[in-house]
Every structure is written in structure tokens, then in C-alpha cells.
């Protein structure tokens, strides 16, 4: 208690030091006056009395000093002194100080931003209680060769839900895109989730208003209830308390709002705003389970596999979905991991680049500081000579660096906050969990730790140097001797290493940038099997309530006919699955091997139902036979077109035209004849392996068009977007109640699909350029310093007959060697690391000669540019002048 009081008193005294000093002076003065009075009274003369009084008190200055140290906090005084000195030193060299602060700021800002992304997306818990116990469950069948999305089949789901030993709860859901009308507003497309009633218990999250639905709502016709998100409640219902019981129209059906989820609730992500009961008859669900306390992920997977094998067989449907009827297998993945699986490599790569960048920045500032410390040897020696301890001088240097580090860190924080606000624009489109990225205390902590680490590393080398200052040599030396030139001293070797390190890091960043950029160009230029330029695409929902399967065919044919008659539209088509838009399911059937008597092969094929002119509209190449034409009608032989991979995988590469395939597109058609073969199309990513595909024309399917959300594509002569209005008008004329959805050019869709790669390219390029600039600055600084420090030595050399080339070799030699050594380490390391980010690479091998040449070239150019000025200065140095001046 007393101790605390005293400490606070001292702190307070430190703050009011000036006032207390004056007060103490007054007090001493009054003491002397009182004492003098007494001596005068005792008979001394005024002068003698005062002298004696002063003598009694003791040395006033030392007393004031002692008084200050007893009264305040001496440590603080010293620190303040250091800080003042540090600031003064930095003020003397403002250009250096700002450059160092800027360097640290950019490094800290970029790395902190990337950390906030990495933390928010990969590490931050999902917004559900005990989220680490949530697992994503998916089912596959042995022998299934086509890639399918992570689903559980309904029989497996039911079998498991009835007997759960490793799970506390199991929930299924599907994401859907639907037309919603709220409070008589205009219809809007929204992403909603249909889910089992158990979802909320599994997530352990309940509505803030109202209740959840029960399992009875999962039967068709009983599912007219919906939970809405907080934003919809606030924005569309004014946050009113009686929202429960109000209705919204979903796909034209009146649905009752039964509850509102809490503000931070997202499931599965922030784009979903409504949750509706899942129709029990749906055969596939995305599944999420909650592990019991003692259960592990592997145990859940094992249990799931066992349950799925006891589930009733789905027969041919199972084969169709999973591509095989083999034994099923369930895998379990922690939910957070499953959610972020696709984005994790990109984030880790970016974060690695950020770390490399901050290392370059730190090495750079450390190198410059070391150079300055060498230049200040004499100052240090003088300080030491007049009584400063080695520790005191070293601390002084550390404080200077701490000022740079902290100022840089704070500027970096500002930069990071700014970059964070730009993330929605900078990051890839529709980035997972972007809403969870924020500048929270974890990020602040990281930034502080980073700043402290950078400050210490930057200050450590010069501080050690200051600590070991050799007074005599430093003072006797004229400060321009070649002592620190070349690689002769430990200090100059350290500087050499710092430069080589920077060069290595910069070379690595540039190599990464080059590899990713070349991949990006290759992805954009890759042959996708169709011509994406000049296509306008849109989705046209035709809900079953209004549009029967036959009616859809009539509507689409009419739209296509009208579109084709518009001047500038060369082709128009409709399809159920368009590249880059849809996820798809395979169709599976058994086919006798053509011409052979072997066992039948199980064919797994992605099927598309298209209109006649589809191939021409998309610009797909027919490589054998023909595409669909007017001759293909309901009356003619059911025809189909397959792709190159289908022919290679299932027909042994022989001529496919004329082969009859027992594929059931319609209940009444047992087989179709192949009339043509098209080239493979990359559905999503240029790097995806092609899948076997089969096309049928809906004009030949008796039932009509099965999908209720077909896509329309139109090939135009000019800018496709200019025809968006025309497309809307045509659709409005033909089907006034239908509304188009997500109109975009194929090029835009392609652009969006590569936005992740584009972000990587931008990031790497920016970091690479920054690192190279730093190397250039460091090089320039080192060389200039060398030239100045060794002016006398160079003069002597020139006087003795050294040529310009000799001078250059002496000045720039070791530095250029450092750079080359750096490159020799950095480039191969980055190339070797390439295999860890192979999924970002496309069309380049990890040993890419173009990259090696380009990176080497860039760094050499920077080297030449940075050494030009110092080199010229060195060559032009006038021996007489230099020798005379020193």
C-alpha cells in the first residue's frame, strides 16, 4: 500500500519535475535565509553568516540532483534522455529516418493485413458454440471416378441419424437460389438454405426471436415456414417484434416467418439469408455433425461408413449419383477445415510472401543502421571517453531503432487498417469468410510482436557494434581508412551477408511472382474447348408451378428464335448446365463393350441437355460427325453427342459416330445413337482434367426440359453486354412472369473464376517490386558509403595508376558478388518451393527457364541502376583533391 503510494508519488513527481525543481530551490533558499538569520543573531556579519549557512546545507547542485532522484523515477529520466537523443539523431538525417520508417511501415502493414486474413479465415473459430466439434461428412462409392460434391445420400443420413454413437447430432442441408418477394416488394433472387430441423441443435444456435421448425416440417406440403437473418429482419421488417407470423413469398409460395437468427449468425456463409425446412424426399444432403465429447473425427468417419453400408440400397440412383455401386465410404472433416479447404493454400502462400517481405525490410533497415553505426564509431568513442558506459551507448542505439520500429509499426497499422477496408475489392471475388476478417486484438498482438521483433533485429547489430567500440582505434583512426572496406572485418562481412540475404529474398519473391504471373497468362490464354469472347449468358428460372416441362421447351425455343433474328446476334442457345456456372452430377449406366464379348463397362458421364445450336453458340469444336440440327426431332432417332474424353475412355478411341449407347435420358427412350463428337470443355478451371460428357437435345426428349433453371447463351458480333436489354425484352415478351437472373458475359465469368489467381499475381508482383526497390536502395547506400569511406584509398590507387575498371572492381566487386550469391540461393529455393504451390501453377514447370532469366535480368538491371551513380563518383574521384582534404 505504502509502496504503491510512494511509486505513484514518484511518477507524479516525474511528471511535475519542473515545478518541483523550482519549489525545492525556494525551499533551500528559505532554509539558507532562516539559517543566516540565526547566525547574524549569533553575532556574525551578514556575509559570513550566509557563507556559513550555505556550507551547512552542503552542495546545492548535488543536493538538487539527489533530491530529483529520490523524488522521481531516475529510470524514466534516463529513458527520456535516450528518447530525446534518439529523436535528435533521427532529425539530423530525416531522409534516412523516413525511408526506414516507410520501409518498416510497408512491411508491417502488408504482413499484418495478410495475418488478419489468415487468422480470420483459417484460425478464427466459426461463429457457433464449440465449433471445433463440428464435422462435414461426405460419402463416396468405391469405383466412382467422377468428382462429386461432398454429400451424404439420404438413406445413409437416415440410417446414421437413427443410431448415433460418435455424434451428438446430425443435420443435412442444401443451398438453393430462389425468387423471394418480401412485404409486397419486387421479386429478388436470394440464396437460401433448406435444412433438417436438427441443424440448429447441431450448431447450438437458436433464433433471437421466435422458434425453429420441427421435424414435422420436413414433409412436402408442410414446409411453409422460414427463419430469416438479422439483416433481413432489420432491413425489410424494420426490426419489428411481431415479425413472427408475417409472410414472405418464396418461389411464389406463401411462407410464414417463424423466427429471426441472431446478428452474427451465418450458415453456411454470409450470402445466405433464409433457412427453410428440407424436403425429406431429396436424395442428397450436405451433412454436418456434432461430435460427442469423447469421439474423434476418424471414429465418426468409421461409424458413418458402417451406417452407410447398412442403409437401404439406392439402386441405379446410387450408381447415377456416385458413379458406381461399390461399397460406400464416409469421410469426416472438421467443418472449419472443410469450409476453408479451397482458399487455404492461397492464404498460406500470400502470408509466406508477406513474411519474406518483412524479412527483406528488416534486413534492409538493419543494414543501413549498421552502416550508420560504423560511420558513428567516432561519436561512440567520444561518448565512451567522456564516461558513457558501453551499455548506455548500446541502449541509445537500440532506442533509436525502437523509435523507427514503433513509428514504422504504427504507420504499418494505419496501412493495415486501410488495406483491410479495401479487402472486399482487393481479395478474390466471393472470398470465403471475408466477413470474419477484422483488425481484432489477435491481429494487434501480432502487429506489436512483429514491430518489436523488427526493432530489436534492426537495432541489435549496430548496438553490438556500439557496445564493443574500441576507443583508441576509433579515435586515432581518421574515419576514412579502408578498415571497413572489402570483406576484411567482421562488420563488413555482416553487411555483405545482409545484402546477400536481401537479394536472396527478393529473388525468391520475384521468382514466385513470375511463376504465378506466367500461370495467370497461361490460364487466360488456355484453350477451354469453347470461345468465351462475345457470349452473353443468363439464367432463366422457369419454376414448375408455372412452367411445365413441355412449356419450358416452347418458351426457350421462342426466345432463341427471337434472339437469333436480332441483328448482331449470330447464335443463341439454351442448356441446363453452362461452363463456370453450375455444379453437376454424373449420369451412370452399364454399356456392353462395342464389338466385344467382355463384361459390360460402367459408364460415368456428365450429361447436358441443350438446344440445337448450342455448340455453335459456345464456339465448341465438332471434331467428328455433326452437331444437332433441324433434322433432330421427337420423331427422329434419339441422338447424342459425346466429347473426346468419352470416346477415349469408353469407346477405345475408335470412331464413335453411329454407335448406340444405352443411356436413359427419358423414361421412354432406352438408347441413343452418337451422331457427333465435340472437343473437351474445361468446365471450371483450365487445369481441371476433362470429364466424359454426353449431350442430348431437349427437342428429342418426350418429357420436355427437366431443369427448372435453364441457362441462355447468345453469341454476339459486338460487346455482348450491349444486348442485355434486348435479352430482357425478348424474355419479357415471351414469358412475362419469368425474370432473368445473373446476366453476365462469359468473359466476366471467366474473369471472376480466375480472380483468386489474379489476387496472388498482384500480391506477388507488388511484394516483388517492393523487395527489389529495397535491394536497390540498400545497394545504392552501401556503394555510396564505400566510395566515401574509401575515397583516400581509391585516390592512392588511382595515383598509382589504377584504371577505372580496377576502381570499379574494388568498390562494387564484393557487393555485386553478394547480389549474385543471393540470387543463386533465392531463385533455386523459390523454384524448389514451387511444388508446394503447384495448384497455383498452370502451363509452367516449376523449373521455368523464362522465370530464371527474367528474375536474373531484373535484379541485374537494378544492380546496374543502383551502382551507376556511386561508380561514376568513384571513377571521377580526383586523387589530388581527395588526398589533400584528408
Amino acid at each position: 500500500m505504502t509502496r504503491w503510494r510512494q511509486w505513484l508519488g514518484r511518477l507524479w513527481a516525474h511528471v511535475r519535475a519542473g515545478r518541483l525543481d523550482r519549489e525545492f530551490d525556494q525551499e533551500l533558499e528559505s532554509h539558507v535565509a532562516l539559517s543566516t538569520d540565526d547566525y547574524v543573531r549569533a553575532g556574525l556579519s551578514e556575509d559570513a553568516a550566509r557563507r556559513k549557512a550555505l556550507l551547512d546545507v552542503g552542495g546545492a547542485t548535488s543536493l538538487a540532483e539527489q533530491h530529483r532522484s529520490v523524488r522521481g523515477l531516475p529510470v524514466l529520466d534516463v529513458m527520456q534522455q535516450d528518447l530525446r537523443d534518439g529523436l535528435r539523431v533521427l532529425r539530423h538525417r530525416p531522409a534516412f529516418a523516413w525511408l526506414a520508417i516507410l520501409t518498416v511501415a510497408l512491411g508491417v502493414g502488408a504482413t499484418t493485413t495478410l495475418f488478419s486474413v489468415a487468422y480470420g479465415v483459417l484460425l478464427k473459430p466459426l461463429p457457433y458454440p464449440a465449433e471445433q466439434r463440428l464435422v462435414r461428412l461426405s460419402e463416396t462409392r468405391q469405383g466412382g471416378t467422377v468428382s462429386a460434391r461432398p454429400f451424404l445420400s439420404r438413406p445413409t443420413f437416415d440410417a446414421w441419424q437413427q443410431h448415433m454413437t460418435t455424434l451428438e447430432g446430425l443435420a443435412g442441408w442444401n443451398a438453393e437460389s430462389v425468387t423471394v418477394t418480401i412485404q409486397g416488394g419486387s421479386p429478388e433472387r436470394r440464396r437460401i438454405v433448406t435444412c433438417t430441423a436438427s441443424l440448429f441443435a447441431v450448431l447450438q444456435t437458436y433464433p433471437v426471436v421466435g422458434t425453429v421448425f420441427g421435424t414435422d416440417a420436413e414433409t412436402p406440403g408442410n414446409d411453409r415456414s422460414v427463419l430469416i437473418d438479422y439483416a433481413t429482419w432489420q432491413g425489410r421488417f424494420g426490426g419489428s417484434a411481431d415479425v413472427v407470423g408475417r409472410t414472405v413469398e418464396i418461389e411464389g409460395e406463401t411462407t410464414i416467418v417463424i423466427g429471426v437468427m441472431s446478428r452474427g449468425f451465418h450458415f453456411p456463409d454470409a450470402t445466405t439469408s433464409m433457412w427453410k425446412p428440407l424436403d425429406r424426399t431429396k436424395r442428397l444432403v450436405t451433412a454436418v455433425g456434432r461430435l460427442k465429447d469423447a469421439a474423434t473425427v476418424d471414429q465418426a468417419a468409421d461409424e458413418g461408413t458402417a451406417r452407410s453400408r447398412t442403409a437401404p440400397d439406392m439402386g441405379s440412383l446410387g450408381t447415377a449419383i456416385f458413379g458406381s455401386n461399390g461399397p460406400s465410404r464416409v469421410t469426416a472433416t472438421p467443418l472449419r477445415q472443410a469450409v476453408t479447404a479451397t482458399i487455404r493454400p492461397g492464404i498460406l502462400l500470400a502470408f509466406t510472401a508477406g513474411l519474406i517481405l518483412i524479412v527483406v525490410a528488416t534486413l534492409n533497415v538493419a543494414g543501413v543502421q549498421l552502416a550508420r553505426a560504423i560511420a558513428r564509431q567516432k561519436e561512440f568513442a567520444i561518448r565512451a571517453a567522456i564516461g558513457a558506459g558501453g551499455g548506455r551507448i548500446a541502449r541509445q542505439v537500440l532506442v533509436e531503432n525502437a523509435i523507427i520500429g514503433i513509428a514504422g509499426g504504427l504507420c504499418g497499422l494505419v496501412l493495415a487498417v486501410w488495406l483491410n477496408s479495401l479487402l472486399p475489392k482487393l481479395g478474390p471475388q466471393g472470398m470465403t469468410r471475408l466477413e470474419d476478417v477484422s483488425m481484432d486484438w489477435h491481429v494487434l498482438l501480432f502487429m506489436m510482436a512483429l514491430t518489436i521483433a523488427v526493432s530489436i533485429v534492426c537495432g541489435l547489430l549496430p548496438a553490438t557494434l556500439a557496445h564493443r567500440v574500441r576507443m583508441l582505434t576509433a579515435l586515432a583512426d581518421d574515419g576514412r581508412a579502408p578498415a571497413s572496406g572489402g570483406l576484411r572485418t567482421r562488420v563488413s562481412r555482416t553487411r555483405w551477408l545482409l545484402l546477400a540475404g536481401q537479394a536472396a529474398m527478393a529473388a525468391a519473391l520475384l521468382t514466385g511472382a513470375s511463376l504465378v504471373a506466367r500461370s495467370f497468362v497461361a490460364v487466360l490464354a488456355a484453350d477451354r474447348g469453347y470461345e468465351p469472347h462475345g457470349i452473353l449468358t443468363a439464367r432463366l428460372p422457369l419454376p414448375a408451378r408455372e412452367f411445365s416441362k413441355e412449356r419450358r421447351v416452347v418458351v426457350l425455343d421462342e426466345i432463341i428464335a427471337r434472339l437469333t433474328s436480332v441483328p448482331g446476334v449470330t447464335h443463341a442457345a439454351a442448356t441446363d448446365i453452362l461452363p463456370l456456372i453450375d455444379l453437376e452430377f454424373p449420369r451412370s449406366f452399364a454399356m456392353p463393350p462395342p464389338g466385344g464379348t467382355n463384361r459390360p463397362v460402367t459408364v460415368q458421364v456428365m450429361s447436358r441437355t441443350v438446344s440445337r445450336d448450342y455448340f455453335a453458340t459456345l464456339g465448341m469444336r465438332v471434331i467428328d460427325g455433326r452437331g444437332f440440327g433441324d433434322a433432330d426431332t421427337r420423331e427422329s432417332l434419339p441422338a447424342m453427342v459425346v466429347n473426346r474424353t468419352f470416346v477415349q475412355r469408353y469407346l477405345g478411341g475408335r470412331s464413335a459416330v453411329g454407335v448406340t449407347v444405352p443411356i436413359r435420358w427419358s423414361a421412354t427412350q432406352a438408347a441413343r445413337v452418337i451422331i457427333g463428337v465435340v472437343d473437351d470443355v474445361r468446365q471450371h478451371r483450365a487445369a481441371d482434367p476433362p470429364q466424359p460428357e454426353a449431350f442430348a437435345c431437349y427437342c428429342q426428349i418426350p418429357e420436355g426440359l427437366l431443369t427448372d433453371i435453364p441457362a441462355i447463351a447468345a453469341r454476339t458480333a459486338a460487346d455482348p453486354l450491349a444486348y442485355a436489354g434486348t435479352l430482357r425484352d425478348v424474355v419479357h415478351d415471351v414469358a412475362p412472369t419469368a425474370s432473368l437472373d445473373s446476366i453476365a458475359t462469359m468473359n466476366d465469368r471467366l474473369d471472376a473464376s480466375v480472380s483468386g489467381l489474379r489476387t496472388s499475381v498482384t500480391l506477388f508482383a507488388a511484394f516483388g517490386v517492393f523487395a527489389v526497390l529495397l535491394v536497390g536502395i540498400g545497394l545504392f547506400g552501401t556503394l555510396s558509403y564505400n566510395v566515401v569511406q574509401r575515397a583516400r584509398e581509391l585516390s592512392v590507387r588511382v595515383a598509382l595508376g589504377a584504371q577505372s575498371t580496377d576502381v570499379l572492381r574494388v568498390v562494387a566487386g564484393p557487393v555485386v558478388v553478394a547480389l549474385v550469391c543471393g540470387m543463386a540461393v533465392g531463385i533455386p529455393t523459390a523454384l524448389a518451393a514451387g511444388r508446394y504451390f503447384r495448384e497455383f501453377l498452370f502451363g509452367v514447370t516449376t523449373f521455368d527457364i523464362v522465370t530464371v532469366v527474367a528474375v536474373t535480368g531484373v535484379l541485374l538491371i537494378v544492380t546496374i541502376a543502383a551502382s551507376l551513380l556511386p561508380a561514376v563518383r568513384a571513377i571521377r574521384s580526383d586523387p589530388i583533391q581527395a588526398l589533400r582534404s584528408s
Binding site: 505504502t2 503510494r5 525551499e27 535565509a33 532562516l34 538569520d37 546545507v57 552542503g58 529520490v70
Partner: protein, 114 residues
């Protein structure tokens, strides 16, 4: 010190100042110094200035309070007074002192073997 006056034992100055203020009421620094010198009858060597270091400490510990006022002969001076906490501390320290000094007394009373 090479002097026949005894240097003040570390820590005892606090006790002296507290007791002086307790006995005499509020006093200025010079007065306290003079008072201790008088009681010490010139046997104590006191550097008057050091009184002020002690006073700062005691104020920060909350055992005495300080206030500017006027002396009898109309000089401005800072007057110190003992606080309630200071009195408690004085009692405690006085007891400590008595105990230790009695121990030392007894030790010194032992006969010499020579």
C-alpha cells in the same frame, strides 16, 4: 568521516524527523535540522541538506504533510506536519528501535574475555 561526530545510522533519520514533528508540531526543514542538532548536542554529524531528501520520502509515503507558510520572523518556508499514518509508523518504528537498542545494549554489557 575522520570526525568525532557519529554519522547518522541509515534509516534512523526518518525516525528522528517523525519523532521531532510528533513532539514539536508543524516545523520547517531548517527547524527540524536545528532541533535534531540540538538534541544531538553536537554529537551527531548532520548534513542539513539531507533532511530534505528524507522529507520528500516521508511525504511520498504519506507519513507527513507539507504546506507553505510563514516563520516567526516572517520568512516564507515549507512547514511539515506528521499525519495519522505517520504517527502509527512512528509508534512501530520506535518499538523496533527500542527492541534493537536493548539487544545491542545487552550485547555490549557482556564482559570481555581479556
Amino acid at each position: 568521516m575522520g570526525d568525532d561526530k557519529a554519522a547518522i545510522l541509515q534509516g534512523t533519520l526518518d525516525l528522528m524527523v517523525l519523532k521531532t514533528l510528533d513532539a514539536m508540531g508543524p516545523m520547517h526543514g531548517y527547524g527540524i535540522a536545528r532541533r535534531i542538532e540540538q538534541i544531538g548536542e553536537q554529537a551527531l554529524q548532520i548534513n542539513q541538506g539531507t533532511i530534505y531528501l528524507c522529507l520528500v520520502r516521508l511525504v511520498q509515503k504519506g507519513w507527513i504533510t507539507a504546506e507553505w507558510g510563514s516563520s516567526i520572523n516572517n520568512r516564507r518556508a515549507k512547514f511539515y506536519a506528521i499525519s495519522r499514518a505517520g504517527r502509527r509508523q512512528l509508534i512501530a518504528e520506535a518499538q523496533d528501535w527500542k527492541r534493537i537498542s536493548s539487544v545491542i545494549d545487552r550485547l555490549l554489557l557482556q564482559g570481555s574475555r581479556r
